[in-house]
């Protein structure tokens, strides 16, 4: 007996943490920056997103962290159709997603420690529950001596590491990173990548947009290659792994 395709799609979306069904996106009345994307990310998978500048990597991440809406198609997060649910559910979805932005959006009036602890405070956790964890994490990313510093006094690499600490402090179910190693030296890039791998081992689904071909090659992780807003068919060894 043939299976109902609508029921099959719904079942697939329920099993995946991220599901794009025919998703397109545009800014205002401009042309599509993403066109008819169809893919899913299995729980606990680890992917890279690559492509030339303007290919739509950052826009793809924006859709997942709910900073933009699809102009067409359906986006499912954690088995939930994002457009169908009430707006009041979005904050709960966002709390399950950690984001490392390309331009390190930090709050300049808050200290390094306050910035790092931000997602935990928003989630309603009490300071006594997370003080030690935040301090350990900041030590781990090399900011142990700068916990009471203000972001304006940090170097580019330090800001990047703080942004990463803030993205992972809540142990998100999905971790998105846009060029996370762009402003750090090789040694720190390796450490950061290891952190992402550790989080992935703990169950987080990781998606990293990067131009760093060396990092991709060494990691052996699957790649989602974008060109002109579409997923390009490219015979990369890891392309199909984890993708559905």
């Amino acid at each position: 007996m043939s299976r109902n395709p609508v029921a099959a799609a719904a079942s697939r979306a329920a099993e995946e943490v991220v599901r794009f069904d025919d998703v397109s996106m545009r800014y205002g009345r401009g042309p599509d920056v993403l066109s008819e994307l169809n893919f899913g990310l299995a729980p606990g998978s680890f992917h890279f997103v690559t492509g030339p500048s303007g290919a739509g990597k950052s826009s793809l991440l924006k859709l997942i962290y709910l900073a933009a809406k699809p102009s067409k198609g359906r986006l499912h997060l954690f088995g939930q159709d994002v457009a169908a649910g009430p707006a009041s559910e979005k904050p709960q979805l966002r709390r399950r997603i950690g984001v490392v932005f390309q331009d390190q959006v930090l709050l300049d009036h808050l200290s390094v420690f306050d910035n790092a602890a931000l997602p935990l405070r928003i989630a309603g956790r009490k300071p006594a529950e997370y003080r030690t964890d935040v301090a350990e994490l900041l030590n781990w990313v090399g900011l142990g001596s700068r916990m009471d510093a203000m972001p304006a006094t940090l170097a580019g690499g330090e800001r990047q590491r703080l942004a990463i600490a803030r993205a992972v402090v809540n142990r998100p179910d999905i971790l998105l990173a846009d060029e996370p190693t762009g402003n750090v030296d090789h040694e720190m890039a390796v450490r950061i990548f290891r952190l992402f791998v550790e989080l992935n081992k703990l169950g987080a689904t990781v998606l990293i947009a990067t131009h760093d071909q060396d990092l991709i090659a060494r990691s052996g992780r699957p790649v989602l290659h974008l060109e002109g807003g579409r997923i390009a068919q490219r015979p990369a060894p890891g392309l199909a792994q984890g993708l559905t």
Binding site: Y65, L66, A67, A68, K69, A87, S88, P91, Q92, L93, R94, R95, V99, V105, L106, L107, D108, H109, L110, S111, F113, D114, A117, L118, P119, R121, I122, A123, P127, R131, T132, V134, A135, N139, G144, S145, R146, M147, D148, A149
Partner: protein, 297 residues
């Protein structure tokens, strides 16, 4: 780890900065608006009191102009009228005024006349009415007619009507000015909230994307602008109270002019100002912030 920093002693800092550079300007503008609103409120109260005082004085009295009949002397006619009125219900006292008082009343219109006593000046009877159940003009006329006294009764009703109308106009105008000032304060706060949100878009975006609820973000701005407006309201109300006190001290109980008899109790009108300013600011900030945040994806 930084030597001065102990994570165990860390306390979360406010999500929004404690103070902004533009706060001073906002406090000044809202304080001026609150000052004007408080002065308007005190002015309306004082004008209302003046109108009520004048009306009370006029309603408590009536004047009777007596014309002598036949061979009766003016003084005898006035005495008879006073006697007739004194026994009327609703009259506390009826007193024939001495001729000299009547001459004094008309002298300003006639100038320096040497033989004013030769003029046929009518006699006046001043009637004090019962404060609770005053006799009306018809009752006074009936009492005079029953004693066959030729007289005209002036119960000041024309003046009372005018004063009441003037008092009502002052009250309506004052309330309109007060509401206009409150609306201007709300518009200023709404504008400042919008500018504050634009300047702190980074905070809003970070909190929004980290999963803060729209209402929680709006409440941050609501609390912040309510605090600023309460501060401004306190300054404006304090300044208005000082001006009111100076007017009271300089003018005494009668005020600087009879139209504005400021009383110490009027200064209490400024007390709700900080709370009202904070409420207006909180509502304006909440509406503006919610609208802006909801426009985000």
């Amino acid at each position: 780890m930084s030597e001065s920093f102990d994570p165990q002693r860390w306390r979360p800092a406010p999500f929004l900065p404690e103070a902004e550079a533009r706060d001073g300007t906002l406090i000044f503008v809202v304080a001026v608006l609150c000052f004007l609103a408080c002065l308007t409120a005190m002015g309306v109260i004082a004008a209302d009191r003046a109108a009520a005082g004048w009306t009370g004085q006029l309603t408590g009295e009536a004047t009777v102009i007596v014309r002598p009949k036949g061979g009766e002397t003016p003084d005898a006619a006035a005495a008879r009228a006073a006697e007739a009125l004194a026994g009327t219900a609703g009259v506390t006292e009826a007193r024939a005024l001495e001729p000299a008082k009547a001459y004094d009343l008309i002298r300003p219109w006639l100038g320096d006349v040497t033989d004013i006593e030769d003029l046929p000046v009518p006699r006046l009877v001043a009637v004090t009415l019962d404060g609770r159940h005053p006799a009306d003009a018809a009752k006074l006329r009936a009492a005079l007619q029953s004693q066959n006294v030729d007289a005209t009764v002036d119960d000041h009703s024309v003046w009372i009507k005018d004063i009441r109308r003037a008092g009502g106009v002052v009250k309506v105008l004052g309330t309109c000015v007060f509401l206009l000032i409150a609306a201007a304060a709300a518009a200023v706060v709404a504008f400042a909230t919008r500018a504050g949100l634009a300047a702190r878009r980074d905070v809003v975006e970070v909190l929004h994307l980290a999963g803060a609820e729209d209402g929680a973000i709006a409440r941050l701005f609501q609390a912040r602008f309510a605090r600023v407006a309460a501060q401004a309201g306190l300054i404006g109300a304090g300044a208005a109270a000082v001006v009111g006190a100076v007017l009271r001290i300089a003018g005494g109980g009668g005020g600087l002019t009879p139209a504005l008899p400021v009383a110490w109790i009027d200064l209490l009108a400024v007390i709700p100002c900080p709370l009202l300013a904070a409420t207006v600011a909180a509502i304006a900030a909440q509406v503006t912030a919610t609208r802006l945040i909801r426009a985000m994806p």
